[in-house]
């Protein structure tokens, strides 16, 4: 995919409060044209307010919003070239599917024959042709979703905002719609801003992901960047399933080892070095732990719980009250029982270290 350098959307220091509640607190990010950009964070973190500000439904208290280079912070909604799919779908309940699809074009003053043509095209593309004369309430959830998408796509927006569009669908439909959304993005190449509380959706669809917390962006990056180099404990805990193991550790007296409840492990080389006795948080992904073959075990906690997931098994281990999860291929987990001691090897190159004080990641020497 050819990455263009043109910035389609830029938010700079956008803040918004509702009474005493601070929804957005100096939010900034840029989205390159044609990018599938995911806004990821738990509910009430400001994702919806962000989208509404971009669409023009919400006026920011401070900061600026630029679309295609033009400042639209206080511009009217009409003319921004932005369309939006709501979590509730927000279809017009009194209009047929055809009229729902046609609505944005009617409001734009497009002439009738062109509207009919585009409605037909859109309906064909979204497999809605047999539903055109129905009212939205008689459609299934997936069909309603496709109507909402069609209504947003029909006037070919520069930017498409999607506010948790899959939350109201069942698991199977969600899977299908993820593929469908990716296909539509490839087909039309418009810029998409996709708000979701679902890590899997963000990682599988977002070319770039902004992790949000308390009305701000904590980290922006590709899925790999977020996974491999989380900027702090918050991001580390949000990205990756099962979640990263976090363990309170102390730097050993030599400054080169970490004392964990499971035993001592060699410390990775950190820029600026480590001071002896410093309290840190050690992060290690469950998939980065391996069973020790032979005598080289760094740790030997005991099995607390087994979760077989088919091809892999998630094993929860415990030692000195600390929990540690490890993902094993199914074959290796066969025969394990609760209470068994399991020898574990930690690869020092796969460790993440965070400052105990504020959770910020420590950069490793490369």
């Amino acid at each position: 995919m050819a990455a263009t350098k043109i910035t389609a959307l830029a938010l700079n220091g956008v803040s918004k409060s509702y009474g005493k509640v601070r929804a957005l607190a100096g939010l900034s990010f840029e989205v390159a044209e044609g990018r599938f950009f995911a806004l990821f964070g738990p509910s009430s973190v400001g994702k919806t307010t962000t989208l509404r500000a971009i669409a023009g439904l919400v006026q920011p208290d401070a900061g600026s919003i630029r679309i295609g280079g033009a400042d639209v912070t206080h511009a009217p909604i009409k003319g921004r070239g932005v369309s939006m799919v709501f979590q509730s779908f927000a279809l017009y309940p009194h209009l047929t599917v055809a009229n729902n699809l046609a609505y944005p074009l009617v409001e734009e003053g497009v002439d009738k024959s062109e509207i009919a043509k585009r409605v037909k095209e859109t309906a064909d593309m979204l497999r809605l042709s047999h539903r055109l004369e129905r009212k939205p309430s008689t459609l299934s959830g997936g069909e309603q979703q496709r109507v909402a998408l069609g209504r947003s796509l029909i006037r070919r927006p520069k930017i498409l905002l999607l506010d948790e569009p899959l939350t109201n669908l069942d698991a199977k439909l969600r899977h299908e719609m993820r593929a469908e959304l990716k296909r539509l993005h490839r087909q039309f190449g418009m810029t998409i801003v996709y708000a979701t509380p679902d890590e899997l959706e963000a990682l599988s669809m977002g070319e770039e992901i902004a992790v949000m917390r308390d009305g701000r962006v904590v980290q922006i990056g590709t899925p790999d960047e977020l996974f491999d180099h989380p900027s702090d404990l918050y991001v580390a805990a949000k990205i990756g399933s099962p979640h990263m193991n976090t363990i309170q550790v102390k730097v050993g007296s030599d400054g080169n080892s970490l004392e964990t409840p499971f035993g001592s492990v060699p410390a990775p080389r950190i820029i600026g070095g480590l001071s002896a006795g410093e309290a840190l948080v050690l992060g290690v992904r469950p998939s980065d732990l391996r069973l020790a073959q032979g005598a080289a075990a760094s740790l030997a906690p005991s099995v607390q719980q087994l979760e077989p997931l088919g091809d892999v098994t998630v094993v929860s281990l415990t030692a000195s009250g600390q929990q540690l999860r490890i993902v094993l291929p199914e074959a290796q987990a066969i025969g394990m029982k609760t209470g068994d001691a399991v020898p574990i090897v930690i690869d020092p190159t796969k460790l993440h270290l965070f400052r105990g004080r504020d959770g910020l990641a420590l950069s490793r020497q490369s």
Binding site: L57, F86, L91, H94, Y103, E107, Q144
Partner: protein
């Protein structure tokens, strides 16, 4: 996939809708419901029957309830011979001691009732719907206080309110005029119109309106193209309740209408008293039967709207 086409039975077309997914009650329940509704309907039924009786039949005790003997099945004492005489004498009467046939003025009174009730309810609906939308979507500081104040005029018995109202109308010179009584009834209908319509607007999903704004609609278009069509059932319900209340209103009409603007309830009370030969029950019943027809029709043809309520299938909450 072909849609399943079901034939709509005639009774469903007439407005007797069966709720889907609910099985019909058995005969026992149905019979019980029929008896209870007959008790409810009985006074109206007696009036309708009486309107077809001559004065002698109307005064008979026990009441004669059947217009036919069913080929001799029922005894003479229970049946009467139906007549349309009462209905003709609603509009014109001939004096028994000779003289020209005289117009009773009831054609005018019926027109007055239709005109005054119809205009004022529609006016209240227009003003009230706009006001309700304002209260719902553009709340003022102290919104609830205003809504409360609007309702205070209906918290007192009409008798108490009517004296200041009479004086107000007299001062501005509208007493006894169409404009005066229409404005009065509009004001009389506004509180509950606003309250009802506000509750319907409050039920609508704000997301749908935001979607329309993003799709390029102005606030005015959002109101007319998106909000109003969704509350049609509410408009119909409010209209019917307004018509029933206004149509039957007596006290204000009695004190504030003149001869020209008199409505049927007032005229009815005057037509039956006086004359010195007691109450003409047949005539009274005929007026009442005719008076019943317009509201009956309005309610009957709008009952689908009344029952339907507003459906929100497209918005999951």
């Amino acid at each position: 996939m072909a849609d399943i086409i079901t034939k709509t039975p005639i009774w469903e077309k007439l407005g007797f809708r069966k709720a889907s997914g609910v099985s019909e009650a058995g005969w026992g329940h149905t019979a019980l419901a029929a008896i209870v509704s007959l008790i409810y309907f009985f006074p109206v039924l007696v009036i309708i029957i009486t309107s077809f009786k001559l004065q002698t039949d109307a005064l008979a005790v026990p009441a004669k309830l059947f217009p036919t003997s069913l080929f001799g099945l029922l005894p003479e004492s229970m049946t009467f011979k139906p007549t349309l005489e009462n209905f003709t004498s609603v509009f014109s009467r001939a004096f028994t001691n000779g003289g020209a046939v005289e117009n009773t003025g009831f054609d005018r009174f019926f027109f007055n009732s239709l005109f005054i009730a119809g205009t004022s309810v529609l006016l209240a609906l227009v003003i009230g719907t706009l006001a309700a939308f304002g209260f719902s979507r553009y709340p003022l500081k102290g919104n609830d206080t205003y809504l409360f104040i609007i309702l205070t005029t209906r918290m007192l018995p009409a008798v108490v309110v009517i004296i200041p109202v009479m004086l107000m109308l007299r001062v501005v010179g509208l007493s006894g005029s169409y404009l005066g009584i229409i404005l009065l009834y509009t004001a009389f209908n506004l509180p509950f119109t606003i309250w009802m319509m506000k509750s319907f607007f409050d039920e609508l999903s704000p997301d749908v309106e935001d979607a329309a704004r993003i799709d390029g609609s102005s606030d005015r278009r959002v109101f007319f193209k998106i909000c109003l069509p969704q509350v049609l059932a509410g408009l119909a319900a409010t209209f019917v309740f307004g018509i029933i209340l206004t149509w039957n209103e007596f006290l204000f009409a009695l004190l504030l209408s003149s001869v020209d603007t008199r409505t049927v309830p007032v005229a009815m009370s005057q037509a039956v008293s006086g004359g010195g030969i007691g109450v003409l029950w047949g005539l009274l019943a005929a007026i009442e039967t005719l008076f019943l027809i317009p509201v009956f029709l309005v309610t009957f043809f709008m009952q689908n709207q009344l029952l339907r309520g507003v459906t929100f299938g497209t918005v999951k909450r």
